[in-house]
């Protein structure tokens, strides 16, 4: 059995509490009847003769019984079911990333146009109190695309703080590892300045954007000014990474999954070629800057992880941002590429 080293020349303060050699996890697996029969028998015999393990088994059982006595399984199951239903959106209505109007206003308009979404939102409303204002979003499919069917999902975050400062994100690449950096600056319009740092590293992964124009697709440089209703498409170079997740953050701090279009896990991608992502994104009316971030990784990333880390950067404000808090540790081997757009009102 492997034990940690002694930290202070005596019984290590952090040492797993298994003086007889039977670990808590083994006892737990024994209780859950997960151990092979022979091992389970050995543990049972051992526990009968070991006061420490006997006590620990009793404590584990007491925890389970205490929990069962206190918790209403039906209520908890209802809440979990509601959250699951919330994820299973009907793919019917077109939508946008972010919105110019307050969330409730746009929701009404959206519901009026899409009764099915209205029913869906009613169901979600029951769970909203438990959602802690995170504003779980809606799933949307848009059928009219540049390449094929476009699937869109808008993940809404109810505004918690006035964004007197916002974020500019940069990539730091020590020893080939991308870091995420943001920069905040207050302006009269509460919008960040256009990105001034490069959005990709030479030879590394990259994200490119194209705008659908009457004369054909047009490359959109970083900081490009676009309008509501513009349709954009992305091309990526994975540079060896096998997974990609593209999200957007708009001027209000709303984080939306784009590829995939739901809060799942990264897409498996072609790690070696420069490829176009199928489908396109139609820009909504949320005026101001919006950043598209592509996370290239070797293991699938979950939207929950990306959202949590992005929110942590957004919340920490300028001080934390200036400290160059990384989104991912070097060992996680996640590279980030991004594109900033400035959305202007439709003429």
């Amino acid at each position: 059995m492997t034990r940690p080293e002694d930290l202070h020349g005596q019984r290590p303060a952090l040492e797993p509490d298994a003086p007889c050699g039977v670990r808590l996890h083994t006892l737990r697996r024994h209780l859950f009847e997960e151990l092979p029969p022979e091992e389970s028998k050995q543990v049972r015999v051992h526990v009968e003769g070991c006061s420490v393990c006997g006590r620990r088994i009793s404590e584990l059982r007491a925890q389970a019984e205490s929990f069962a006595a206190k918790v209403d399984i039906t209520v908890e199951s209802d809440a979990i079911l509601a959250r699951l239903d919330q994820q299973a959106f009907p793919n019917q209505a077109p939508t946008h990333v972010g919105a110019r109007a307050p969330a409730h206003t746009e929701t009404r308009a959206h519901q009026a146009a899409h009764p099915q979404a209205q029913a869906e939102d009613r169901g979600r409303g029951q769970d909203r109190g438990q959602d802690r204002g995170r504003g779980r979003g809606r799933a949307i499919v848009h059928g009219n695309t540049l390449v094929g069917g476009m699937i869109r999902y808008a993940h809404r975050l109810e505004s918690r703080i006035a964004l007197a400062a916002f974020v500019v994100i940069a990539l730091l690449v020590p020893v080939g590892v991308a870091y995420f950096r943001a920069h905040s600056e207050s302006t009269a319009s509460d919008y960040p300045p256009p990105l001034v740092l490069p959005n990709r590293m030479k030879g590394g992964p990259s994200l490119e954007m194209y705008v659908d124009r009457p004369q054909g697709p047009e490359a959109a440089p970083d900081g490009v000014r676009l309008r509501e209703g513009d349709r954009v498409q992305f091309r990526y170079k994975a540079a060896g990474h096998g997974y990609l997740f593209v999200v957007s953050i708009d001027a209000r701090g709303v984080i939306s999954p784009l590829y995939p279009d739901h809060p799942g896990t990264s897409l498996a991608i072609d790690a070696t070629r420069r490829k176009i992502l199928e489908g396109s994104v139609i820009l909504d009316g949320a005026i101001g800057p919006e950043r598209f971030l592509a996370f290239f990784s070797d293991q699938p990333l979950s939207f929950a992880v990306l959202e949590a880390r992005l929110e942590s950067i957004l919340r920490q404000g300028r001080k934390a941002i200036d400290a160059e808090a990384p989104l991912f540790s070097p060992d996680e081997n996640v590279d980030v590429a991004s594109i900033l757009i400035i959305k202007e009102p439709t003429k």
């Binding site: 492997t2 940690p4 303060a13 069962a68 199951s77 979990i80 959250r83 699951l84 994820q87 919340r315």
Partner: protein, 171 residues
């Protein structure tokens, strides 16, 4: 595989009845807030349900669920990283409320928790599985899909950090 709504309800109830105390124990241990822990536990079960077929194939469902719960809570904590340090310090010094998992080794688990903010997310997860759950290094390597040397390296790093902190506190 698809399941009917009644199937899903039954599955959720069974899961919660069987593993609820373990998940809640982990959430309370890391989040230190009952309502947040309850919320996080529900999220964990949503994740389990989203991977229900995989869950059924796991040779050790409890190991897998502990991993999901730990990972989720660490992500929640990462989202509020700023208040993390002070909050954990405060709780580490004030351990009169010993609940659920902490009954087993309150001093050690509190100490581990106080050290977590000093290391990266993966090391946090490894340290929790090793010191709190008392999984073996090979069990941790398996569930986190990492090599044994990586696990050893991470634990050594955690111990170095803990050693430094304990020495600092003592002086």
């Amino acid at each position: 595989m698809s399941y009917s709504p009644s199937d899903r309800r039954t599955q959720i109830e069974q899961l919660y009845r069987t593993y609820g105390h373990v998940v809640m124990g982990r959430c309370i241990y890391l989040l230190r807030n009952d309502s947040e822990a309850q919320d996080a536990a529900q999220d964990v079960f949503v994740k389990v349900m989203n991977s229900y077929d995989r869950f059924r194939m796991e040779s050790s469902p409890i190991t897998w669920i502990l991993k999901i719960a730990t990972n989720h809570c660490l992500n929640v904590l990462a989202a509020r990283r700023a208040p993390w340090h002070a909050k954990y310090r405060r709780h580490a010094q004030n351990v009169e409320t010993q609940r659920l998992t902490e009954r087993i080794a309150p001093e050690r688990t509190s100490m581990i928790r106080a050290m977590l903010e000093k290391v990266d997310t993966e090391t946090q997860q490894i340290a929790i599985h090793y010191y709190v759950d008392e999984m073996t290094q090979s069990e941790i390597a398996t569930i986190l899909n990492r090599s044994l040397p990586t696990i050893r390296k991470r634990l050594a790093k955690f111990k170095r950090v803990a050693d430094r902190e304990l020495s600092h506190d003592a002086s």
